[in-house]
Every structure is written in structure tokens, then in C-alpha cells.
């Protein structure tokens, strides 16, 4: 294990290199670009023996890794925002054909208006694409997620694509000391990919057939079951990672001071670090506040969330993406997790930090202190009235 001070994108690229992907295809988009540039340089230097395909679009990037994965290769791509949405059609095709592609999504707001800064509208908008979605809280976790992602994706009981999400700029462009594992350790944790079915004249199978009304639903149901079933494997892989490398930042969820908490904040991504700092201050003042970090958004960890929140009086969900007219997406799903339960906390939604709008400790403290009953209507936090009317 070596601790190095480096940029988040570089840390991710270093771990991808350790994973020995056969085929990489990616297209530049801020704030993902540094990851694919680092990988291109590694291939150019001969440090990474992979085919690096300089595609003409993200749509092609996803299609190239689809074809390569179906041929039995370990494949990787990375993107953000518009790039992810341009891939949308292929995302469904990849999961529908059950291909264990791994992608890093450097989360960014979605146009229009164009905005290159961070929120999570991109990956949340493709939540129904059938991919596993994991969200990192800091650079260390973002890099650790990559190798875990391959292990999960290629697990014989899973065989699904994984999107490892990290907040754009905040994690991709920041510098932090990162512990990197060694190649032998990586190889021991992630053995070569051995697909059961792949494109080869030795067994000339047909991929991507048309399934009609008599069978399409069963195929979709299998996807649903596989995605639900992957929860167990995500936990196992996080535990094994902890055993081998001593690091654990949650599996499906993680918690902070939640045991006796009356108020629980729920969030995903880099805002978790800020929330932890705010909690330290609030606890010092005697406020019983805790945190539930949703690390895995797909499969949605309904039971884990129920269990973690059952003792809370108030749940304050922070959303970095929303469904216009419906509300924050994480809020909606957390609320749905308590549907029909006898004991449910009061759940309040807060839409924060869209398009890179600053969120600091103050923001979190204010949300906790100013817990207006917002009912079903989720609240946009820190709006500038002057710009609205």
C-alpha cells in the first residue's frame, strides 16, 4: 500500500490500471476528461496493456464497450452529464444483455441551461437503466469503488454493469492523499474475467434477440431479480475489501452517529463529508443528529434504510437531482421505503447544490436548525428570490 497525494481523476485511473481492463473507450467531457486522459497516457507509456479506442462520441464509447464485453473482454468507460444521456439507449442495451461493463460517472448538471458544475441529475436520470449505481463520498472511496465495481459486475450471481459515481470537480479535480493498493494485491482481489457466454465461433450464440410479449417480461423480471440480488454481493465485496485492505466506507449504506439520533440527514456523494463536519458541531451543541449515507442507490437498499431510520423522528433528505413537479428523487424513494409501515419518521426533502451551487457546513446547519414542516412539497434550499421574480 502506498499513500500518494494526487488528483481524484488520477487516483481513479491508477486503480483502473490495476484492474487490467482489456478495452477502454471514452470521450472527453468535463469533469470526466482527466480520467480518460490519464488512461490514454498510461496506454501510450506502455504501462497499461489495453486497447484504448478514441471514439467519436459517448454513444460510440458505450457501444464499443458493449461489443467488447460481449466478446469476453473486461471493459471500462467514463463519462458525465450530456455524455451519459447520449449513452442512454446503449445503457439499457448493456444491462439488458447482462454485460458487466464498468463506468465511472463524474457527476455533473444537465443542460439546458448548460452548466458544467456538479450535481447528480445525470446518473439519477438514468436510474432505470438497469445498472448498479454506487456513490463515493471522497477520493479514497471513489478509487476503491472502481475495483469493487469490477468484482461486483463480474460476479457469476450478478453479471450486470456498474456505474461508480463521483461528484464532478469536488472529487475529480481535488487533490487528497490516497492509499493505492499494489498490483499483486489487486490481482488477488480481482481475478481475470471468465464469462460463461461470449461471442466466439466455438459456440456461435446469438446475443440481442427479439423477445416478444411471451417472454420479454420474464427477461425484465430476471434483470430486476439480478439487480436486487446484487445487494448481497455488494456487501460481501465491501467486507472482503475491508478484510484485505482495512478500508470500509459502507456497503449499501453507511451511518454516522445514527444510534441515538432524533434527526437523521440522508444524502449521497461528496456532501457526506460536509454533513459529517456539521454533525460534529451540532453534537457538540447537544443536538441528537446523525447521518445515513446512501452508498448504493441501485439496487435501492430499502430494508437497510428502514432499519437505519426506524428510530429517527425526523429524516432530512438532501437531493442533488429532482424530478420536476414530483420532487427530489432520493426523497421520493426514501419515502416510498416506509410506505405501509406502522412506524415511519417524518421525511422532509431538500433540493440542494444544483449546478455547483455552494453547499458548506452553514448550509447543512441551516437545514437542521430551520426544519420547517415542508410536507410533501420538497424545498429548494438557498434560493435567490431576486432571480426568481
Amino acid at each position: 500500500m502506498v499513500r500518494t497525494f494526487m488528483e481524484g481523476s488520477k487516483a481513479v485511473a491508477e486503480v483502473i490500471k490495476l484492474c487490467r481492463p482489456n478495452v477502454i473507450a471514452a470521450y472527453p467531457i468535463t469533469p470526466q476528461t482527466h480520467i480518460s486522459e490519464e488512461l490514454a497516457q498510461m496506454v501510450a507509456n506502455g504501462e497499461l496493456k489495453a486497447e484504448y479506442v478514441t471514439v467519436e462520441s459517448e454513444f460510440a464509447a458505450a457501444s464499443v464497450v458493449l461489443g467488447a464485453s460481449a466478446t469476453g473482454a473486461r471493459t471500462y468507460t467514463a463519462t458525465s452529464s450530456q455524455g451519459l444521456l447520449l449513452m442512454t439507449e446503449v445503457l439499457f442495451s448493456i444491462s439488458g444483455m447482462r454485460l458487466p461493463v464498468v463506468m465511472t460517472c463524474a457527476n455533473r448538471a444537465v443542460s439546458s441551461p448548460i452548466n458544467i458544475w456538479n450535481d447528480q441529475q445525470d446518473s439519477i436520470s438514468v436510474r432505470d437503466a438497469g445498472w448498479i449505481q454506487l456513490y463515493a463520498e471522497d477520493i479514497q472511496e471513489a478509487s476503491d469503488l472502481q475495483i469493487q465495481a469490477f468484482r461486483i459486475a463480474e460476479h457469476p450471481e450478478v453479471i450486470l454493469p456498474v456505474m461508480a459515481c463521483m461528484d464532478g470537480f469536488i472529487l475529480t479535480h481535488a487533490y487528497e492523499p490516497v492509499d493505492l493498493i499494489e498490483q499483486e494485491e489487486a490481482d488477488a482481489f480481482l481475478p481475470p474475467y471468465q464469462p460463461q457466454y461470449y461471442l466466439t465461433p466455438k459456440n456461435p450464440i446469438t446475443f440481442g434477440a427479439m423477445l416478444g410479449p411471451e417472454s420479454y417480461m420474464e427477461s425484465r423480471c430476471q434483470l430486476d431479480r439480478a439487480l436486487r440480488g446484487s445487494a448481497k454481493i455488494i456487501e460481501e465485496v465491501a467486507q472482503e475489501f475491508k478484510k484485505r485492505f482495512g478500508r470500509f466506507q459502507g456497503a449499501l449504506i453507511d451511518t454516522y452517529f445514527i444510534e441515538d439520533a432524533e434527526i437523521v440527514l440522508v444524502a449521497m456523494g461528496s456532501v457526506i463529508s460536509t454533513i459529517k463536519e456539521a454533525i460534529d458541531l451540532l453534537r457538540a451543541e447537544g443536538t441528537k443528529v446523525g447521518l445515513l449515507k446512501v452508498r448504493c442507490f441501485r439496487p435501492f437498499p430499502r430494508e437497510a434504510i428502514n432499519r437505519a431510520l426506524v428510530g429517527a423522528k425526523e429524516v432530512l433528505v438532501l437531493d442533488r437531482a429532482f424530478s420536476p413537479s414530483s420532487g427530489g428523487v432520493l426523497t421520493t424513494e426514501v419515502r416510498a421505503a416506509f410506505q405501509g409501515m406502522e412506524r415511519a419518521p417524518e421525511i422532509k426533502g431538500h433540493i440542494v447544490g444544483l449546478g455547483g451551487r455552494e453547499m458548506n457546513i452553514e448550509t447543512i446547519l441551516n437545514i437542521v436548525k430551520d426544519r420547517r414542516a415542508v410536507g410533501r412539497e420538497d424545498r429548494f434550499v438557498d434560493l435567490k428570490e431576486a432571480l426568481l421574480s
Partner: protein, 305 residues
Amino acid sequence: MEKHLFLAGHTACYGCGEALGARLVVDAAGPNIITTDATGCLEVFSSRWPQSAWAVPFIHSLFENSAAVASGIEVALRAMGRQEEAKVIAQGGDGGTADIGLQCLSGMLERGHDVLYVCYDNEAYMNTGVQRSGLTPYDSDTRTSPFGRASWGNRYRKKDMPAIAAAHGAPYIATASVAYPKDLQAKVKKALNIVGPKYLQVHVPCPLGWKSDPALTIKVAKLAVETGLYPIFEMENGVVTKVRKISSPKPVTEYLKLQGRFAHLFKKSGGEEEIKKIQQIADENIRKYGLLSETAAAKVSAEKE
């Protein structure tokens, strides 16, 4: 039955040129290939779960990404040291190739992937019920370029796909037709022995969309060539190296009158003028590609004098 790599039991219409084209292509290529296909008639009639007409490895993903999926397969084989295992053939209809899939095809050609791309050109979006594409010929009556009081049908000429492929520097580009199966199969074999990106465009009549007699699929395809409307040629490293000569070009009316998609040209007054324009297209092709055989050329110049 004969041994084929694309099998019976597929659900193409009676006399489908595309089904014939696909069978001729994979039979010529042999078993050591991996094929992709775009969404379209071929994919639908050949791979309805749990059945598949393909005896070779086959993958269909989407309408517009056949070339990119094939690019991924090719690099994967290379990355895993399996390049001796199979050659890669990407397939698509004219819509999946020249319109919505053009960008992925451009990327594949530009990056120099060792893939043979085969476009089955039935000159419209057939799978969705006969709408025009960039390869639909001038004046053709389709559901989105219908003949009507204010329209003669498709207003545009066929996109010059071979020239577009050539502009990418592809080492081998060819056109072919199901009317000449041996030529088509020889081109597939030749292409597969050339390293790099190859583009092959095969004219495949669609009796349903062209409103032609299914029994006449080969006849119609032949007339497209014999009139000069569908030039058959090979381009190697940017230069036309071979053309299928025409001994005596037939008037385009012989081709047009066999197909309901052009029937309006013979019914409405003013149609003769339109037919003249189509004849001009054929004449231009004949000049541009030097389609006349020597005897035919001599005859033409004698007539002029």
C-alpha cells in the same frame, strides 16, 4: 438441404432480397466470423427468441451502433490475443448505415478497424413500414415521401455512401447486388483478406416496399444494374479498380415499370419529365464509372457521328 450459415425458418417476406443477401454474405465468409447487425428487417426476421437463423456468432444491440459494436468486438479480440479466432462483419440496412448509423460507421472507418461493414440496401426503412432513407432513390413513393398532387415522391437522390467511405481512406469499398451472387460472394472473400475497414453495399430488392413481384427479385435487381441506376464497382485505396460493364444499357423505364413505388410516374401527366430525370441519373452513373463495355461504347460513338 445444402449447408448454410444463415438458415431457413427465418420470417422474411416472400422473395426477400435482404434474406438472400445475408445468406450469401455469411456463406461466403465461412464459420470463423463474428457478426453484428443493426435493428431492421434482417435482425427481426432472423433472431426472434428463442430461435436464431444464424449459425455464426451474432449480436444485435441497437439501430445505429452496429459499426461501433463491431469496433468493440475487433479490439476485444486483439486485446485478448484472439484475433486469429474470427473476422468481424458488421451489418445494417440502408437506414442503419447511411442515416442514423453514419456517425458510428464513420468512426469505425476512420479508426481503421479490421471490420467488413455490409450495408443491405433495400432503399428505405422497411422494418417500420417503408419510409424513405438517405439511400431511397429519386421519386420513389414511400410512406414519408409519398406521391401526391404536390409531390412526385422522394425529392432527393441517393447519398453517395461509397464516396463517403472512400473519403475515410478505407482500403476496400465495393458495391454488389443479389442479382450477381458469385460477384457478391467473391467480394466478401476478397474483403475479408484485406486488413482494415471495408465497406460493401449490396443492392437487395424488397418486394414489399418496392411493390414488385417476389418472383422477380433477381430480375429487378439485374435491371437496376443494366440500366446504370445501380453501378457495381470496386474501389481499392480510393481508386475505382473494377466496374461491371453493361453491354447495352436498358432504358430506366424497364426497371421502373416493374415496381409499384414508381408506378405514379407512368400514370400522371408530367411523369415522362420525371422519368427523363431518372434516365439522366443513370446516364451520369454510366459516364462517371465508365460502365459501357467497349462494344457498347463504340456503338454509342458511332450513333453520335
